[in-house]
């Protein structure tokens, strides 16, 4: 027998930390086991070249839920906030988007953008309310589920006849058609397309990309920020909060398996063979790793194992980190613009075309890029006068044809740098070191099956009532004592803390009911 805890959280990703902090605050004796040296999962800051540090995976904070901030008294120090998105144009005629305005486009587009954003934000606010609740089960007689379901229906109806219709029309639709109807500027359409598809295996013409766009807005209305010290500082703050509340966090303790005895979870065993006992094990790992890997298919029902097995969770976003000996020159940008979010998505077709090869297991020769220079306002990340470029790059499919060998990585890295060079011609000369993280690397480093941001594609068939799969949407898995608290559970990925908070509430609420 090992030490006994009220709850064991497997993985100290940001959701795991949120969940453990909330459980510890409620008086639970919580143990968090993290495989890596650092806490934070994919929300970490680490050195990638001598003297250069970067947010290794997630690099922008835009979804951290107010509920999470409030309950855990989080106040991350930000080096950039309310960032403007600058959609780069080759001749320097960039388009600048804020959360409710756009500049550099026609007057008609300016007005359309305001209307578009107003509506989208209204829908996003509706969505946001439900991101912070356990999704109701369908076909149940449970009062709480029925009330939530009724509320959802009522909230949609309350949008008004016109807007309700619009909501129901848009929610399953692709962003391309919607943008095409409303805007003229290719750059504007490109940038919005990128927002809708970032982190997914979807193109702007894929269904439900309006939903993924709304998901992005369902936090701070899409207002992005960069935490000082990188994303790791948010995780560190969360870990501190969890520890102060009484949780024990142990790093470099990879969990080998979740122990099941007599049809229920009874604890975990680490790779070193150490055993910890608890009747509540909460996994921050993705659903596939949790069920198929840590628990084992044999301990769950066949149908459930099949649904988990078929979960679509192959990532398509890569991360490129460049160490630069100085800021590059980009036509039309002033120096302070380097504190903003720069995107390369010249038009909506470009984004869709970038996606095309990914469908067939090839990387994009002309990728879509989201760039930040986190060192611009944060001296801690790079030596004085030098800079770090952190980019999310699409598309880099997880199961690349032929695999992500050295050659494939070099080809893709070069494609990204060439694409950036179109806007920043001197970028190549500025590079002193670089690091490319493909979904395969993200899988290896952060233990996310498929290397997908969301631990599972964010599509309507894997969303809300059926996330990660039907019959397991309320954090509690169909195995007594097992819970999910990561991005694979409702609502999904992004540094939002919603899944972790909802899971904690589900566990505590269940206890109260019992």
């Amino acid at each position: 027998m090992g030490e006994r805890y009220d709850a064991i959280v497997v993985g100290a990703g940001h959701n795991g930390l949120v969940c453990s902090a909330l459980l510890a605050k409620a008086g639970k004796n919580v143990l968090v086991l993290e495989a890596n040296e650092q806490v934070g999962g994919a929300a970490v800051t680490r050195e990638f070249a001598d003297g250069y540090s970067v947010s290794a995976c997630a690099h922008l904070l835009y979804q951290l839920q107010p509920e999470v901030r409030k309950e855990l008294k989080l106040a991350p120090t930000l080096s950039s906030e309310d960032m403007t998105t600058i959609a780069l144009a080759e001749k320097g005629k960039h388009v600048r988007l804020t959360w409710n305005t756009v500049a550099g486009v026609s007057d008609a587009d300016v007005a359309s953008y305001r209307r578009f954003k107003k509506r989208m934000m209204r829908f996003a606010d509706l969505l946001r309310k439900y991101l912070n609740k356990a999704p109701p089960r369908l076909g149940t007689k449970d009062m709480k589920d029925l009330v939530t379901l009724g509320q959802l229906g009522f909230d949609i109806r309350r949008l008004g006849k016109q807007e309700m219709r619009e909501f129901l029309r848009l929610i399953g639709m692709n962003i391309y058609d919607e943008l095409d109807e409303r805007f003229e500027s290719p750059l504007l359409k490109g940038a919005l397309s990128l927002d809708a598809v970032l982190g997914t295996h979807l193109g702007p013409r894929s269904p439900n990309t309006v939903m993924t766009y709304l998901y992005r807005l369902a936090g701070d209305h899409g207002r992005a920020a960069i935490p000082k010290g990188g994303m790791g500082s948010v995780s560190d703050e969360l870990a501190h909060e969890a520890r102060v509340s009484g949780a024990t966090i142990r790093t470099q303790m990879p969990v080998k398996r979740i122990i099941v005895e007599n049809g229920r979870v009874t604890g975990v065993e680490t790779e070193d063979g150490e055993r910890f006992d608890s009747y509540t094990v909460i996994s921050n790992a993705d659903p596939k790793r949790t069920v198929m890997g840590l628990v084992g298919a044999r301990h769950v029902e066949t149908g459930f194992a099949r649904r988990i097995h078929h979960l679509r969770s192959k990532g398509n976003a890569a991360k490129l980190h460049l160490a630069l000996d100085g800021l590059p020159i980009i036509e039309g940008l002033s120096k302070k613009d380097f504190a903003e979010r720069l995107v390369i998505a010249p038009d909506e077709h470009y984004v869709e075309r970038a996606f095309n090869p990914a469908k067939y297991g090839e990387s994009s020769p002309n990728p879509v890029i989201e760039m930040t220079f986190p060192s611009f306002r944060d001296q801690t990340l790079a030596p004085t006068g030098k800079h770090v470029l952190s980019a999310v790059v699409q598309y880099a499919p997880y199961d690349l044809k032929g695999g992500w060998n050295k050659e494939a990585r070099e080809t893709f890295r070069q494609a990204v740098i060439d694409t950036i060079s179109n806007y920043a011609p001197d970028i190549e000369q500025r590079i002193t070191a670089s690091e490319l993280l493909t979904p395969v690397d993200i899988e290896r480093e952060f233990h996310i099956t498929g290397g997908h941001w969301h631990h599972g594609e964010l599509t309507l068939d894997q969303f809300l009532f059926v996330r990660p799969v039907s019959g397991a949407a309320q954090y509690r898995m169909p195995l007594d004592g097992l819970y999910l608290c990561g991005a694979g559970a409702h609502p999904g990925g992004g540094v939002s803390g919603a899944a972790g908070r909802n899971a904690a509430r589900a566990i505590l609420g269940r206890e109260k009911a019992a």
């Binding site: 298919a297 066949t302 194992a305």
Partner: protein, 398 residues
């Protein structure tokens, strides 16, 4: 992967030539793509061959899967409700498997051929389900229905027939045992299993040797009343033995459309097959809950007064039927050997306790005119037909 031609039209089993030669009535039906005889001469006489001599039934169309690999035991233990660890090599287990809701998908027999090597036999095809259940297990599942020719040799003289044929060592073969023998240089597997509730064996061989096996068997059986039979005679025998048939006494859960029409093993009187103490098996959660809260249905074996078979009858709680119907008959027959009017049925709990009485509403026709009768029926616990010879080891010779 080796590609195989897809058969067009109805298949003939490797024994077809021999069956066709004996066939006089030309009554055939389709069984999983194969021609299978309803009857070959006269179903009553065929039935009495089962009970009084030796009946030979071609069960090649029965679905067979070979399950091998390091995880084969763990896999089967997760698949079926009973503890397969107790089934040693050389033993056969009757088993049921359920969906996630604990509803029966099918029943069948699992042959532990050799250490870690199994054959699963069932009436219906289940490849998709078996493959799905294999996610996370190191097992190989091969559909081998066409690769194995199989005969059921059933009846009181069956042991003597096989002994006369020269098969050795069957004296020691206990019910649900299997043994590997040689027949003309080819491996012949003999199991003491069957669907008749009588002394009997099943023979399994390479299809190339099927006709030779048949010939040897019938040669040996000449003096023991051997006779080929069709499914009608077998159907009567299986009702007497109290065995279940898919699509008759239960619906495979994966084929149902409406809720509430499938059955759990507890509802089918198969609680003895459900082992809550063994490692996790599919449907365990749901079945444990059903066990706590009680089942909705109960399968009953009915001994009905009179001699009119209660085909498709409603079952009532009392004679006046004024409390509404409580269930219905799923299989019924007049049993010649038991001299009893028997049936299998399904009733709502708490009806159906052994020893209790229910009423069945029997409609029967007499010279075109329909008659209705409320017949009292007693719920019985044991199979209608369970002769000592079924389990006697060694079996008595004739």
């Amino acid at each position: 992967m080796k590609s195989q031609a897809v058969h067009q039209g109805r298949l003939k089993t490797p024994f077809y030539s021999r069956l066709a030669a004996l066939d006089t009535v030309n009554e055939w039906h389709q069984w999983k793509g194969y021609s299978s005889a309803d009857s070959l001469f006269c179903e009553d006489i065929e039935y009495f061959a089962i009970r009084n001599a030796t009946a030979v039934f071609d069960l090649t169309p029965m679905t067979k899967y070979r399950i091998t690999g390091p995880d084969s035991l763990d896999y089967l233990n997760r698949l079926v409700t009973r503890d397969m660890a107790k089934i040693r090599p050389g033993r056969v287990a009757y088993a049921v498997w359920c969906d996630d809701q604990g509803q029966v998908i099918d029943d069948g027999t699992i042959f532990h051929l050799r250490d870690g090597e199994y054959r699963l036999c069932s009436q219906e095809r289940h490849f998709a389900w078996l493959k799905t259940a294999a996610i996370g297990f190191d097992v190989t599942i091969r559909h081998e229905t066409e690769d194995v020719a199989a005969l059921a040799v059933q009846g009181p003289t069956s042991f003597s027939v096989l002994k006369t044929m020269g098969l050795e060592g069957l004296e020691e073969l206990k019910p649900f045992g299997l043994t590997h023998l040689k027949f003309q240089g080819t491996e012949l597997m003999v199991s003491r299993t069957g669907f008749t509730g009588d002394l009997g064996y099943e023979l399994w061989i390479d299809p190339d040797k099927a006709e030779a096996l048949w010939d040897a068997l019938f040669e040996a059986g000449k003096l023991f009343g051997i006779r080929a039979i069709g499914t009608h005679a077998l159907e009567l025998a299986r009702i007497e033995a109290g065995f279940l048939a898919a699509y008759m006494d239960f619906l495979p859960a994966d084929e149902t459309v409406r809720t509430g029409v499938s059955r759990s093993p507890l509802e089918l009187g198969l609680e003895w097959l459900v082992d809550f103490k063994k490692p996790n098996f599919n449907g365990r959660r749901a079945l444990a809950e059903e066990k706590r809260n009680g089942s909705t249905w109960q399968l009953v074996k009915l001994d009905i007064e009179g001699n009119k078979p209660a085909h498709h009858s409603y079952i009532f709680g009392n004679e006046k039927a004024n409390k509404g119907q409580i269930g219905f008959v799923t299989s019924a027959a007049w049993s010649p050997v038991c001299k009893q009017n028997i049936a299998l049925g399904t009733v709502r709990t708490p009806y159906g306790k052994p020893g209790s009485s229910v009423w069945v509403e029997i409609y029967y026709q007499r010279e075109m005119h329909w008659n209705r009768k409320m017949a009292k029926a007693t719920v019985v616990d044991k199979p209608f037909w369970f002769p000592p010879r079924r389990s006697a080891t060694p079996p008595a010779p004739y």
